[in-house]
Structures are given as C-alpha cells and as structure tokens.
Amino acid sequence: MTTNKKPITVAVTGLNAIDSPGPGIPVIRGLRESEEFDVRIIGLSYEALEPGLYMHDLVDKSYQIPYPSSGMDSLMTRLEYINSIEHLDLIIPNFDAELFNFIKLSERLEKEMGIKTFMPTIEQFEERHKANLNDFGDKHGIKVPKSKIIFSSAEIFSLKEEFSYPLVVKGKFYDASIAYSPEQAVTQFNKISAKWGLPIIIQEFVHGQEVNVTALGDGKGTLIGAVAMRKTYITDKGKAWAGISIKDDNLMDMTKRVVESSHWKGGLELEIIKTSNNDYYLLEINPRFPAWVYLAVGCGQNHPEALMKMAAGETVEPFGDYDSGKMFVRYSYDMIVGLEEFEKISTSGEL
C-alpha cells in the first residue's frame, strides 16, 4: 500500500505503561494517528520489563539506554549507536529525571547527528522546578502554595513558625505525602529522600479540588493547545486511572499565562488546586506531557503530533476548542511474551 505521508523516525522514552505510568505509550498513540507523517517508533527503555517494549503494534524497535545517573557521555554514546542503525529524526523524552541530560545534549544531538528535539530550555526547566516554584509564581503572577526546600529532617522541627499542619512533603522529582505532625513529616522525609534523593520540598497544604492541564508551548510565547482534566478514579499511588475533560476559563488563563510569560517550549502538565473560594493555586509544573495526554487527542487536540510537526520545522496554528465531558478509563491487560524476547532485551539491550 502506498502512502503520501512523510516518513519520520521518532525515539520515545517512558514505555513503562504500569500502575504509575510513563507518558511514552500515549505519546506514541498520538504520533501514530498523524495524518501527515508515517511514523516509525523507536522505544528507549531503562528496564527489561517496561510493557511498551513488548507492544510491537505501537513500538517498531526498542533499545535500552543508560540510567540518567550514568551521565551525559554514556547516554550520548548509546544514542550514537542507536542512530547509526535507526537514523533518528526526533527524540521525545518523557521522564522528568532524564530531561536534564537530554536538554544538555540537545544541541549536540542536532549538530552531530541531525536529531531534533522539542524541549524546554535548561532555564525554563530549572525555573519551574518544585524548589523554585514560589519564585516562578512571583515572576509570572500566579498563586503558588508557600514552599521551602530542606536538606535534613532536623529542619522539620523548626518549620513551626512558617508552616502549620497538615503540610505536604514532596520529593524533588516524584512522590508527595501529607503530614499531620512533625513526626509524620520526618517519616515521609526519610521515605521520599531514600527513593528520590535530596532536597525535599515542604509545601503548604491547600484544600480543594485537584485539576490538571496538559499543554504545549511553541517556545515563542504561544500556547498551541491545552486540555484540562479532573481525575475521577485515583490509584493508591495518586495516579489517575480515570478522568474527564473539563472546561474552565480560569484554568486556561493560568496555562496561557505560564506558557506565554515563560516562552515554554514543548509539552507540559500543570497541577492545580481549585479552592472552594474559586482561587486557583499552581502546585507543580511537570516539564513533559502527562501519562493521560491521549485524552487531549480524544478531545480533538493531538498535542504529540503538534510537537512532532514543530520539531520538524513546521508552523503549527494554536488549536481552538476541545470537547469537554470526554473520559479516559485505563485498564490492565496481560500480554503473553516469549522468554526469548525478554532474553533478547536483557542480554543485547535491543528488541
């Protein structure tokens, strides 16, 4: 069968379609629905049991890549090898923890191998960091719960004058827990820092309804698209297992302000609390698409495809409206996988 679609090879990370899912698979689904590009997907994984590795209808070929802690050089060496076989056009990284390395390498990737990326700058990436969110809020005129970075659990007992309980204890990349006493905060500090390292962020607890926005900025101050969602079923890890698209002008205004004033480039997710007084507090900015980004596609805004087009140098007009009242419902599904596949990815790092 012939197609008029332009061929493109895109490498995507975040193939961990598990109970705390990475955004890779929904991003790939969006890319595959492109009417303009014939997409070949190269999966980049960290572990041999990331389900996306075995989803051959979505992922054409996969390669293991080194953990972010291995540093930029080993990542670059691995990408050089992968590119020598696959001739990548674009890489879409989907993990917070790996973004720093990819952003730092983006210039070299394009210059030395011709591989495009479409990510925030290192300044945008650092500015929106949980630890810097208060300054971000002040700079861009957005309400943010008061927060403080701490490096030792001993600091928790001196927080009494600045924070009242409950408060939220947050990891630098992932995890957050509500603490109702200093003792609970110390326990959470130890638990989260053991998993994600230091620092830990202490944040004022704001009571209200959590809502999320997935969005895309063109890097020049234009919001290309944004879809808001409310979680309707939450797992014990706090992840959305089901959600519904909602329409709220205040959420769109906040998203527009964030993207326009920061000139955000790439995908992002805003986590926002709406209080009973109709105040909106920005809790977090995740510097990549969320795992529920396929809901945006279902609502009429294919953000992954728009990112791919912009990375390819095309001008993309901002999306208009989107459908509210569309739901996503996740499900678990057992794939039967031959041991030889697991053996192949485990031993050769390719599948």
Partner: protein, 85 residues
C-alpha cells in the same frame, strides 16, 4: 433560581457540569423541573405547572421544589437569584 449556563442536560436525566467534571442523575420529575428552570420560568410558575399536571397538594410540592433547588445549588448546578413575584 437559575441553572448555570454551561450545564449539559440529557433526555435521560443525566446532568453534566463541564467546569468541574461532576455528573449527576435525576428522575423524570427532577428533569422536568430543571428543564422548566432552564426555560427561565420562576419557582411560582414551575409550581403552578406541576400542580396542574400531577395529583399533589401545594404545600408538599412547594417544599419538595425548594428542597430540590437547595440541592442543585449545593451541587453547583444552579445559583440563587432574587426572584420578583
């Protein structure tokens, strides 16, 4: 009493608030009341219309309508406005 402008209402009595994502189900009488309210009818008009249609006494109906409206306000489906009778 005013049903919020963006509230979506289906013929089966399914009520959806697109700004919060909340959804509710109401029975046929509730659906009828919301529809009349959406048409801009006052509580007095709604009461009279229902009285002419159903076998009930005015006091019970009035109480039920007010209870129902209070619930709609609490659920953010409707907002109170001062009615001029």
């Amino acid at each position: 009493m005013k049903i919020k402008k963006n509230i979506a209402l289906s013929d089966s009595g399914f009520v959806f608030d697109p700004s919060s994502g909340d959804s509710f189900s109401t029975n046929p009488i509730g659906l009828e009341i919301i529809k009349l309210c959406k048409e801009g009818k006052s509580i007095e008009n709604i009461k009279n219309e229902l009285l002419s249609k159903y076998m009930t006494d005015e006091t019970t109906l009035e109480k039920d309508i007010y209870d129902f409206f209070q619930m709609l306000v609490k659920l953010n489906v409707a907002e109170e406005i001062k009615e001029e009778n």
